[in-house]
């Protein structure tokens, strides 16, 4: 397995607070990896340890198979959640400063920056001072600064906050493009819709612990409560009676736009599906069926609540 990041048993404590407790996770090269969790769960601390900003108390972090060193930060691009720029500095100078800190020489950095500025349509900001920019504008500059040195690993902490939908889409497009070009993306957010849309795998952190890890598709299947949508032509009541033996619940909903009748039903278990289909076929003309997978929102809330109940509230 080709992992760009292996976090193994990492713990980190501050004065009276354990921010990370024996957290492990692996990030596969080339994927978009979601890091989820409630506020204060320890995500930012984890991201900082991956960025070599803070050192873990115990545990190891491997980057491309070797222990993470300061030199590796040149291969990482990090867009923090709390982000700012030097207010009095000109946009261009500032972008150059950050690019050079990542090891790019001046000529190369200037060339790359100009092309990025054109790509995001902000070329006329080059000589403006940052204090003249709006928040969204400043964030575009920060995004460019993060990705300019073509890092292997990109870490975005709430990248879309503060962006209008149009710019958020531009950003999403650019992130996916970077992934297609070979970059790995770690992505921390509270926006579950964007997790479903972008992430291949996730880890859910709650109260300093890793409580759930895995590929998004698998997780959604695992958390499935065997809900299905049947579309059919015929008598809904007959269908309900026919399915009574195999379902826990049955709900006849509004017809869809084509005027097709629909029913949402929950099976007793996954094995009941063939029986349900046979029974439905006998009662009505079954036009189609599809599994209804739980949303990441549901999984998030369910897992976090369960984990909170198991762990008695400290203090």
């Amino acid at each position: 397995m080709d992992n760009i990041i292996c976090v193994d048993g990492v713990s980190k404590s501050f004065a009276k607070h354990k921010a990370l407790d024996n957290v492990s996770l692996n990030v596969r090269r080339g994927c978009v990896y979601g890091l989820l969790g409630p506020n204060g769960a320890g995500k930012t601390t984890l991201i900082r340890t991956i960025n070599h900003i803070t050192a873990p108390d115990t545990g190891t972090i491997l980057f491309n198979g070797h222990p993470l060193t300061a030199a590796d930060t040149a291969s990482i691009g990090y867009l923090p959640e709390e982000r700012g720029l030097y207010k009095k500095m000109k946009v261009g100078d500032q972008a150059l400063f950050f690019a050079r800190l990542k090891g790019l020489d001046k000529a190369e950095a200037t060339k790359q920056l100009k092309s990025w500025f054109e790509r995001l349509e902000i070329s006329d900001w080059w000589n403006k001072k940052v204090e003249e920019l709006s928040k969204g504008m400043a964030q575009k500059v920060q995004f460019i600064v993060t990705v300019l040195h073509r890092p292997e690993l990109l870490i975005f902490d709430e990248p879309f906050s503060g962006f209008d939908p149009i710019n958020a889409n531009v950003l999403k497009r650019e992130i996916l493009k970077l992934r297609d070009e070979g970059a790995t993306v770690i992505f921390s957010t509270h926006n579950m819709a964007s997790v479903e849309e972008l992430c291949d795998e996730i880890t859910l952190i709650n109260r300093s612990h890793n409580i759930l890890s895995g590929p998004v598709r698998e997780l959604r299947r695992q958390f499935s409560d065997n809900s299905y949508e049947f579309t059919f032509t015929g008598d809904a009541l007959a269908l309900r009676d026919a399915l009574a033996a195999t379902t826990v619940s049955f709900e006849n909903t509004e017809p869809d736009r084509q005027g097709q009748d629909r029913a949402i039903l929950r099976l007793k278990d996954a094995a009941a599906l063939p029986h349900a289909i046979a029974a439905a076929n006998a009662a009505v003309r079954l036009e189609g069926f599809r599994a209804i997978l739980p949303s990441m929102d549901d999984i998030f809330i369910k897992t976090v609540e369960a984990s909170n109940l198991n762990t008695p509230v400290l203090q």
Partner: protein, 417 residues
């Protein structure tokens, strides 16, 4: 020159030196300083003499009152009227009442004034009266040719001070000039360390407040960032000092000979070696040495303080850790210029917290070289130690938001892994 440290230093330096405010303050400061130094002289020139009329009610047998000499400020007038009517007369500013037995009992002389008499007026009258009464008393001994004898024994000593130095020739100095130069240099160091130390602190707070810090530390390790800031801002201070140094050297070559001439003939101040550009350059080198050491030492304290707080308001209390010793150094150096060789002076000029200010105040008086070098070595060594501690605090502090920490908490952060 492409290490992250060098890039941070470059940014910190250019950001400040290119600002208009830096250029203006660098050029205006000397003018302001000269103005500040000239103010007392100007005040003296323009305020002029007091011009008071003093009525003398003389009841003494020897009539000593008539010997009082009027000068530019005081005009003495012997009056026949009694004390009461003289005091009632508004045309007199003051009334001097000399008792009948003033020669044998000098405390029988009283001075009444409508307004508070200045110390100078009082001193001038009493010193005149002292010599008059002395003369009257001497007369009582009936010595022949008294005036001649007195003239013969009169002497006026004008001490020429020389400093014994290692070389063969003793160089001429003047304590007064050393006093002024020492005080001035100490004040300058105080100002610079305070100003630029606080600049380091505010710049760190600003970065933290701005949240630009998190982006920067993902490319530079926190210690390099802190060092880059301290060095970059320090270079700004040195640039400013060098500009002033050039101005001062030019000034000492063209203007000083004129001033020195005027000072020697006019005020009777002997500038001694302060008239020599070579000596000024030497002093200048010492200033740089102690300025850099003192700045580095204190700016690392300021950096630790700046990293620990969220805004300037919170910093005010915590930064007393730096301010108190700096002010203490300044206060001690004020005492030190009076007694440059006391043991307080020696210890305060060697212990790193106060040493930059105190040592620079002592140097013009000429002190053993080993003391200077011991002080320098200790200062730079403790800077290294202080930076090490500050870096540890800084590394933790920059990610701490919210509650304002105490000094004890800062020290605990320094122990984190």
């Amino acid at each position: 020159m492409n290490s992250p440290l060098a890039i941070v230093i470059r940014r910190e330096y250019l950001e400040r030196v290119q600002r208009k405010s830096f250029i203006i303050s660098t050029l205006l400061m000397p003018i302001f300083m000269i103005g500040l130094m000239l103010t007392p002289a100007l005040v003296a020139v323009f305020s002029g003499p007091e011009n008071k009329t003093v009525a003398i009610v003389d009841q003494s047998q020897q009539q000593i009152g008539r010997h009082l000499q009027s000068d530019g400020e005081l005009r003495f007038l012997c009056v026949d009227s009694d004390q009461k009517s003289a005091m009632a007369d508004k045309s007199y500013d003051a009334v001097l009442v000399i008792g009948p037995d003033a020669v044998s009992r000098p405390d029988d002389i009283r001075f009444y004034s409508h307004e508070a008499a200045s110390m100078q007026t009082e001193r001038s009258i009493s010193s005149q009266l002292e010599s008059i009464i002395e003369g009257e008393r001497l007369k009582g001994y009936d010595i022949e040719n008294l005036a001649g004898i007195l003239k013969e024994i009169q002497v006026n000593v004008d001490l020429d001070t020389y400093r014994i130095s290692e070389g063969d020739d003793a160089s001429e100095t003047s304590s007064l000039a050393s006093y002024i130069v020492g005080m001035f240099m100490s004040l300058m160091l105080y100002m610079f360390i305070m100003l630029y130390g606080q600049m380091v602190m505010t710049s760190i707070i600003e970065e933290k407040n701005n949240r630009v810090l998190e982006i920067v530390v993902s490319s530079v390790n926190p210690t390099s960032l802190m060092m880059g800031k301290i060095v970059g801002i320090g270079l700004v201070a040195i640039t400013q000092i060098l500009i002033w140094g050039v101005l001062l050297t030019a000034c000492s070559m063209w203007v000083l000979p004129l001033v020195a001439g005027a000072a020697e003939s006019g005020a009777g101040i002997d500038l001694g070696m302060y008239g020599s550009p070579a000596y000024i350059m030497q002093l200048f080198a010492y200033i740089l040495l102690f300025l850099i050491g003192g700045y580095l030492f204190y700016s690392s304290i300021y950096a630790a303080v700046g990293s620990a707080v969220d805004n300037i308001q919170d910093a005010s209390q915590l930064q007393s850790v730096a301010i108190i010793p700096i002010i203490l150094g300044m206060v001690i150096s004020m005492a030190v210029v009076q007694t440059p060789s006391s043991s307080l002076a020696m210890w305060a000029s060697i212990i790193p917290f106060t040493s930059p200010m105190v040592m620079i105040a002592r140097i013009p008086f000429g002190i053993p070289a080993w003391q200077i070098w011991l002080s320098v070595v200790l200062l730079y060594a403790s800077f290294v130690g202080m930076v090490w501690v500050a870096a540890k605090i800084y590394r933790v502090g920059i990610f701490m938001y919210g509650k304002k920490p105490s000094v004890a908490e800062l020290l605990r952060w320094a122990r984190y892994k």
